[in-house]
């Protein structure tokens, strides 16, 4: 019994036990190699990260927004949900895309072209945030002080949303973690 002093508990495994443990070990190894194997499919979490500061990232990202923001016929910046709309430059331009997460918005609203490849930087200017692309349900952690770079190629067109899925405090029903949404558009 589990409460008694065991007598001679060092007994050999019997046949069923050996079979079960062997199967479990094999299954464990299969599950393990799925992850390194996954790196062949090119659908992996990015490893590319740089140290930054909130101030530095803000400067770089604001410069990016200024350079690529879309202007209407009157020369006024086009806005969506109060955010600048930006034509994202693909990698052939040599420029990167910068996304700011801050309490409580993602900006700018990015416009991508289907089939082109982009390098997207993400960092936070204040709290920890979560980048959750909907409806794809693709999620990344966005931290202050870390510039996380994701290289991706959009393969469908439409309007997508970025929901913050890391709690980042609140300041009333109109302002807070639960109102933090960004927009991404992919065009033909």
């Amino acid at each position: 019994m589990p409460l008694e002093k065991p007598t001679n508990w060092w007994k050999p495994f019997n046949k069923e036990e050996k079979l079960w443990v062997t199967l479990a070990v094999i299954w464990g190894i299969i599950m393990f190699i799925m992850m390194p194997l996954g790196h062949l499919w090119n659908q992996n979490v990015s490893e590319e990260t740089y140290r930054t500061t909130e101030k530095e990232y803000k400067e770089v990202a604001e410069r990016f927004i200024d350079k690529y923001k879309i202007l209407d016929e009157a020369g006024q910046p086009v806005k969506a949900g109060g955010m600048h709309v930006v034509n994202a430059p693909d990698i052939t331009t040599g420029d990167d895309v910068f996304l700011i997460a801050e309490a409580w918005r993602f900006r700018p609203a990015l416009v991508f072209k289907k089939g082109k490849t982009y390098r997207v930087h993400m960092s936070s200017l204040d709290f920890q945030h979560g980048f959750s692309l909907q409806p794809q349900n693709l999620n990344f952690q966005v931290l202050p002080g870390y510039d996380f770079v994701i290289t991706f190629t959009p393969n469908e067109t439409g309007t997508f949303h970025i929901v913050c899925n890391e709690y980042c405090s609140y300041a009333g029903p109109n302002n807070g973690h639960d109102t933090m949404v960004g927009q991404i558009t992919v065009e033909e």
């Binding site: 065991p6 007994k11 599950m31 959750s132 870390y146 949303h161 890391e166 405090s169 029903p173 973690h177």
Partner: protein, 527 residues
């Protein structure tokens, strides 16, 4: 105190014949009662939170929702569970071994320190000074007394773990006990070692954070620690936050073996195998903490894959072994009792009407098949991108911590109250329905959470309709059904919880006292 005086502090349990060290019994009482009080607080918050996540009800306002999620997480994942485990450690080191629990004064000091910490944390949260969630990720900052409370609680629990190990050594040295430890206590030793790792990680995360937060009031600390690195905290925190649940795992599996014995007289068929599985937990399980960091910036894939797989799933193999040996023990015992017809008579004619057995069975299934399987899926590096921080994660851990650990602890409580705390169970007839209500309720709401998460529902989110946001997010309408399941399942589970609390509280305070003989009891092997 000399041995002759100590030997007068024992009573003999009339049902089991176990020798109970009375000062240890009082310690178990205070820790168990504290655990249940925090379970009550956490449970009341749970139903309010679940009914807020159900969009058609949307009960709480924004500020209370986040405050209550913080309080719910902390009270349930830390205070309820750890207090109960401390009671378990004292039980294992004294009553099970037939030994005294040495250093009673030190133990009381630690219990009081833990209580002070837990109360302080609750006060700060409910005052609205710590709306930072259980995870408390910097740069979110709570009042420093919140962090102080957590540190006090963790230090008390850490001392308890060392105290437990000392008590085991002492039991042998004074001759109360000889030879190998019983399996149940062996499992608790594994839990205590995991707990030491866990609590040290917690200190690494929270002590600098405490100083950083104190910087608001004391300039010295502002200069000492001007900021906390976000990723440093995340790695250290999860060494605490997730490993704390691995303490539960080891303790819960030990309790499974105990419940199997208490309900069907099952004895482990091969103790070598069971112990090997516990050792695999010890070696591998804490690496799993990294599956909270799989989509974080700054970590390499090698680090992620190696750790999140518990080193080739060593710890999962441990769980697979228990998944084999616990039913095997029950089957062997049942067949010995003559239930030999066909493949499954032993299972069909098991004592399903007994809360100890149904609690064990439900806990086993919900933990293993619901929680364990979802957990292993979530912790795959590539798949984690589809689940990080959405409701799939709480769906997983409510199956493990609530459907698994909490249910096992509840089932054990029905034995602890009469056998250790010497009170007859009040409303005993309700107990046999309680485990089913609770188990099914948890399964329903955790399944709802899981599928809402699959559809993209973020966790810890007050308003997924995004009524006040600049963009509306068109989620799959089926998500509403899933979140309704969360509300309905939580209501059922909450009913089960209330029945448990009623039985536990009424029995402990108003139950008929079970008399017990005081008998002088000396160490059997003293030199």
């Amino acid at each position: 105190m000399d041995l002759s005086e100590i030997s007068k502090q024992f009573r003999t349990c009339e049902t089991t014949g176990l020798k109970v060290h009375l000062p240890a019994q009082r310690l178990i009482w205070i820790n168990a009662v504290a655990a249940v009080v925090f379970l009550l607080i956490g449970g009341l918050l749970a139903i309010l939170i679940a009914l807020t996540r159900w969009p058609d009800v949307h009960l709480l306002p924004q500020d209370l929702f986040y405050r209550f999620v913080t309080a719910h997480g902390t009270n349930m994942l830390v205070f309820w569970i750890v207090f109960f485990e401390m009671a378990g450690l004292i039980f294992g080191a004294s009553i099970v071994l037939g030994a005294r629990f040495p250093g009673i004064g030190f133990a009381w000091f630690n219990t009081i320190m833990m209580l002070t910490g837990a109360i302080l944390v609750n006060i700060m949260i409910f005052m609205g000074k710590a709306d930072v969630m259980f995870t408390a990720y910097p740069p979110l900052k709570a009042h420093w007394l919140f962090y102080l409370g957590i540190v006090l609680f963790a230090v008390g629990a850490l001392f308890y773990c060392f105290h437990f190990l000392y008590a085991l050594v002492n039991a042998k040295r004074e001759g109360w006990y000889q030879g190998s430890l019983p399996l149940f206590v062996f499992g608790l030793v594994v839990a205590a070692i995991i707990a030491i790792f866990t609590l040290v990680s917690g200190a690494i995360a929270f002590v600098p954070t405490l100083f950083w937060a104190m910087g608001d009031d004391v300039p010295f600390f502002r200069e000492l620690i001007p900021s906390i690195d976000a990723e440093f905290f995340r790695v250290a925190f999860w060494g605490f936050g997730h490993s704390a649940q691995q303490i539960n795992l080891a303790a819960m599996v030990s309790i499974w073996y105990l419940l199997a014995y208490l309900t069907t007289n099952a004895k482990p068929v091969n103790q070598k195998m069971c112990r090997l599985a516990f050792v695999l937990y010890l070696l591998g399980i804490n690496m799993g903490s990294v599956h909270h960091n799989l989509v974080d910036p700054g970590l390499s894939s090698t680090y992620r894959i190696f750790n999140t797989s518990y080193f080739f799933y060593a710890a999962v193999i441990g769980s697979m072994i228990h998944a084999f040996s616990i039913p095997a023990a029950i089957e062997t015992a049942q067949r010995k009792n003559g239930l030999t017809k066909g493949l499954f008579e032993w299972l069909i004619k098991a004592p399903w009407g007994h809360p100890g057995f149904s609690g064990l069975a439900l806990s086993f299934v919900i933990f293993g098949f619901g929680g364990g399987v979802t957990g292993v899926i979530l912790s795959v590096e590539q798949l984690n991108m589809l689940s990080h921080n959405n409701l799939r994660v709480p769906g997983h851990f409510h199956m493990t911590v609530v459907g698994g650990t909490t249910l096992a602890f509840m089932a054990l409580t029905y034995y602890v109250i009469p056998l250790v705390l010497q009170r007859k169970l009040v409303l005993e007839s309700l107990a046999k329905y309680q485990t089913y209500l609770f188990g099914f309720g948890v399964s329903i709401f955790a399944t709802g959470m899981h599928f809402a998460g699959v559809m993209g529902a973020p966790r810890r989110h007050w308003d997924i309709s995004f009524q006040n946001a600049v963009f509306q997010v068109p989620f799959d309408p089926a998500m509403n059904t899933m979140l309704a399941l969360v509300g309905i399942g939580a209501t059922i589970a909450f009913t089960g919880l209330l029945i448990f609390l009623a039985i536990a509280v009424l029995s402990v305070f108003f139950g008929k006292k079970i008399p017990s003989k005081m008998e002088t009891y000396m160490p059997a092997h003293s030199s």
